[in-house]
């Protein structure tokens, strides 16, 4: 296997881009990533683009071709990757494997979602496509409702509180306030989260990630190319993906995302690191409870202790492990297909020392964790400044 | 001797209620006028996710439980309603599928205003007697609607009952049945219309009373019986007043009519009305008791039945349990339940 590094990264701002289309967003992110890599477009050999629901959101399929076209990369092969909310992370992994397996030397992994071209109700229905349509959504399940079922059970089993969940929103909003690309660049107080309108008890509006437009892209390269073109390649030390039942109710435990546990363990094994070696982690906090599950499932804290750990500030910026220094999905926004790639970009910027006000001191090892649905897919990557 | 009749029965009334006062308040009426005029206190209201099909299923499952039969033994299902969820597409097939009776059976939907349920019973009885079927399921179920502000709004309610008719393991023999039918335009709903119209006072003498009294007298004559031979009398109950007046005319003492008079507490459940009354009576009747039931459907017709309890069967879901389980709605909630709010 070839070693693989990220040599370029670029993203649009995340937010409501009323004036920009799906292809405008993808083109902007792609251009920034390619410029950042300091390569020529002609050097790129393949594209993998993550998008969840272009068909439902903009009525467009055949997204692989559209992405290559918008980035001006024809005629190289371009493929859409869809794994619901983990589409971006999975696209990155496909690109990684294509290089690691020796097939290519320079590949672009992109992610994009244009969600505001439909009414919110339509965007929500599209997001429901990540859950089990026949056995969950048919009976009235919404996405927040499914995570609320996880939250209620977590509260029941471990005594997790609504305040502890709210604390995740407070932390991530604070981090987001330091990120120029975040949708919400403002602090919120615990009281604001607790008093925000109820969406699906116990989840409130400020426990939920918003509807967002955005795109992100990274350039991956083999070791020989990375060393030739790039002064500060960020090495991919581990890449793992796992699947679980599509429906939440089919799982043995509602509160453990087994796919996260398995992908996390496997990625750390490949990288030769332990959870305590991770300095920063971009985890999939589509809802505040999701971050609590993630820090447990990834082994940062014991199962059931995530809520307390959040309350104690264990995952604040520049604490033991800085979790979601970007602001996470919660504050950056969650343009579904772009999220997994944005997580990689945050890891890259942090490890390069280019994260500005939210820079984590001495960050050496970073982890990204991208979840599809309620955990039917999980993708975990580990990054480091040093190749091992 | 072989008996033909009821093998099991089941009732269902939604748990929600609205009081006459709550409706009268909205239209600036004096509630006492309706409470005295119609002898009704409140009416049942279906939940937003209930319709004639779901009510029919609930009542049928109770009937099957009492009958102790395998739903696969049902050879016919007839559902009477004036509020079938579809104008075209049978309610009977939904019921058949939901109770596990498909596919070896016949089914059809009936509509004859408030007497479609008893018409279904007659059909099943005839088929059982003729040897065409082993067991038939006859259902009357409605989620009836009255135009907001109309007098019907105080009574149009929801509920239903289901009867399994057969010749084996019969708990109540149907000794005789007959009908009195004419073309009388007292109440109707034209195709595509949401609410029915009615002839106000015309619904009384030429419609309800003429048909109920004629059918009942016909039955008494046919069976050579008098009111004294019956322990209970159940008459269709569009309100509290009509059945009491008809009973008085027929010389029925009050104690024989009140056990089957549910309308003051649940309203007029249309196709469910007389057969829910019968179910309430069957719940309390003893072996050997005789029951006279006469339904009425606008348009118009009455079916009269002479029924004798021959073997008491326990009802695990008595009518009383449904009548007593109630949760009151205000008019706003009622409007939501009855989908009178346009989204």
């Amino acid at each position: 296997m070839q070693k693989v590094a990220v040599i370029g990264a670029g993203q649009t701002k995340f937010g409501e881009h009323w004036e920009k289309s799906f292809r405008d967003l993808m083109a902007e992110a792609g251009k920034k990533a390619i410029e950042d890599a300091n390569i020529s477009g002609n050097d790129i050999q393949a594209v993998y683009g993550g998008t969840m629901s272009a068909g439902r959101m903009i009525g467009q399929e055949h997204i692989g071709a559209l992405i290559a076209d918008s980035m001006g990369l024809n005629p190289i092969p371009s493929t859409r990757v869809e794994n619901a909310c983990a589409s971006g992370g999975t696209a990155f992994r496909e690109a990684y494997m294509a290089i690691a397996g020796g097939h290519y030397d320079i590949v672009v992994a992109g992610g994009v979602e244009k969600m505001t071209d439909v009414f919110t109700s339509q965007a929500s229905l599209a997001l429901g496509g990540a859950a089990d349509q026949e056995w969950e959504v048919f009976f009235g399940a919404t996405f927040p409702a499914l995570y609320a079922l996880i939250a209620r059970r977590h509260m029941h089993e471990y005594g997790t509180t609504e305040e502890q969940m709210a604390r995740v929103a407070v932390k991530n909003h604070h981090n987001g306030s330091l990120n120029p690309n975040a949708q919400y660049r403002r602090d919120v107080t615990l009281e604001q989260v607790m008093s925000s309108s109820k969406v699906a008890d116990p989840l409130k509006l400020l426990d939920c990630s918003p509807i967002t437009d955005g795109a992100a892209a990274v350039v991956l390269a083999s070791e020989k190319i990375a060393r030739k073109y790039c002064d500060d390649p960020i090495w991919v030390l581990g890449s793992a993906q796992a699947s679980d039942t599509l429906a939440l109710h089919d799982r043995e435990s509602l509160t453990t995302l087994k796919s996260s546990v398995i992908a996390g363990r496997e990625a750390m094994k490949q990288a030769g690191v332990k959870p305590t070696d991770i300095n920063i982690a971009e985890v999939h906090d589509c809802f505040t409870i999701a971050e609590i599950c993630a820090v447990e499932d990834l082994g940062f804290v014991e199962k059931g202790k995530g809520g307390k750990a959040e309350e104690d500030g264990m995952f604040d910026l520049n604490s033991n492990i800085s979790v979601n220094p970007s602001g996470g999905l919660k504050a950056c926004g969650h343009p579904v297909g772009a999220t997994g790639i944005k997580q990689v970009i945050e890891a890259v910027e942090q490890l390069r020392g280019e994260a500005g006000k939210r820079q984590v001191d001495g960050a050496e090892t970073a982890l990204t964790h991208n979840v599809g649905g309620t955990g039917a897919t999980a993708v975990v990557h580990i990054f480091s400044k040093e190749g091992n | 001797m072989k008996h033909f009749g009821i093998v099991g029965y089941g009732a269902y009334v939604p748990r929600y209620r609205i009081k006459v006062e709550e409706i009268a308040k909205i239209w600036g009426k004096n509630p006492e006028d309706y409470k005295k005029g119609l002898l009704i206190r409140e009416k049942s209201v279906p939940d937003v996710d209930e319709d004639a099909a779901t009510i029919a299923v609930s009542a049928s499952l109770n009937a099957i439980e009492m009958a102790g039969i395998n739903p696969q033994e049902l050879d016919a299902i007839y559902v009477g309603s004036e509020s079938h969820p579809y104008a075209v597409k049978p309610t009977g097939t939904v019921v058949a599928e939901a109770i596990g009776a498909t596919p070896n059976l016949t089914s059809a939907d009936y509509e004859f205003a408030c007497k479609a349920g008893t018409a279904a019973m007659q059909t099943c009885l005839g088929m059982v007697k003729g040897g065409m079927i082993k067991y038939g399921l006859a259902i009357g179920a409605d989620t009836s609607q009255g135009r907001p502000g109309d007098a019907l709004e105080y009574t149009a309610a929801a509920g239903g009952a289901a009867y399994i008719i057969g010749s084996e393991n019969v708990m109540a023999e149907i000794e005789e049945t007959c009908s009195f039918t004419t073309d009388t335009p007292d109440f109707w709903r034209r195709a595509g219309q949401e609410y029915p119209r009615h002839g106000a006072r015309f619904t009384g003498e030429p419609a309800y009373f003429k048909h109920v009294l004629s059918a009942t007298r016909m039955l008494l004559e046919k069976t050579g019986t008098t009111i004294d031979d019956y322990d209970y009398v159940v008459l269709h109950q569009p309100n509290g007043k009509f059945p009491l007046r008809a009973a008085k005319t027929l010389g029925v003492p009050k104690e024989k009519i009140t056990p089957g008079l549910l309308v003051p507490e649940i309203g007029n459940t249309y196709s469910g009305a007389s057969i829910l009354g019968l179910a309430a009576v069957l719940d309390e009747a003893k072996e050997g008791d005789r029951i006279l039931m006469t339904s009425f459907g606008s348009g118009a017709g009455s079916d009269s039945f002479s029924i004798r309890v021959i073997k008491k069967k326990e009802n695990k879901h008595p009518v009383k349990s449904y009548v007593e389980k109630r949760e009151y709605l205000n008019y706003g909630q009622y409007a939501k339940h009855r989908r009178k709010i346009r989204m």
Binding site: F138, F139, A141, S197 | T54
Partner: protein, 134 residues
């Protein structure tokens, strides 16, 4: 929303949604709902037969949905739960005839047959299971 409007998509699920018809592995005794025709535990040694669930169970987790899915506006607020059937399988369903603050984890429930959704005023009506307090 093809899962509400498509005739064949909803029709082929009537046995499960109307009557809780699942399946059971005779080899290991595990019940499946929705039915599986293959036992993941016993693999080739499994013998699967159709099995109707009794329709009783208890609440494993629940939420009160305040922002509904499109088409469920009339039911807001509604309780949605993961119900653990007595036979073992879990499913997602609405809990009805109960006030949200009366619902709790472990509460025994039984199946009832109700309308789930409809395709507007002119399309098909979808029926299926909901649960109420046992």
């Amino acid at each position: 929303m093809p899962h509400r409007k498509s005739l064949s998509l909803v029709w082929r699920r009537y046995p499960q949604r109307y009557q809780l018809i699942g399946s059971k592995c005779l080899t290991c005794g595990t019940h499946f709902f929705p039915p599986r025709d293959f036992c993941p535990k016993c693999r080739r040694k499994g013998e699967i037969v159709e099995q109707k669930m009794k329709g009783t169970g208890k609440i494993h987790s629940f939420t009160v949905v305040r922002v509904p899915q499109e088409g469920f506006e009339m039911e807001v607020p509604y309780v949605l739960a993961v119900v653990e059937l007595d036979e073992g399988p879990k499913l997602t369903a609405q809990i009805i005839s109960v006030k949200p603050d009366e619902v709790s984890i472990g509460m025994p429930v039984k199946m009832v047959f109700r309308r789930i959704s409809e395709d507007g005023d002119s399309g098909i009506i979808n029926y299926g299971y909901k649960f109420e307090k046992a």
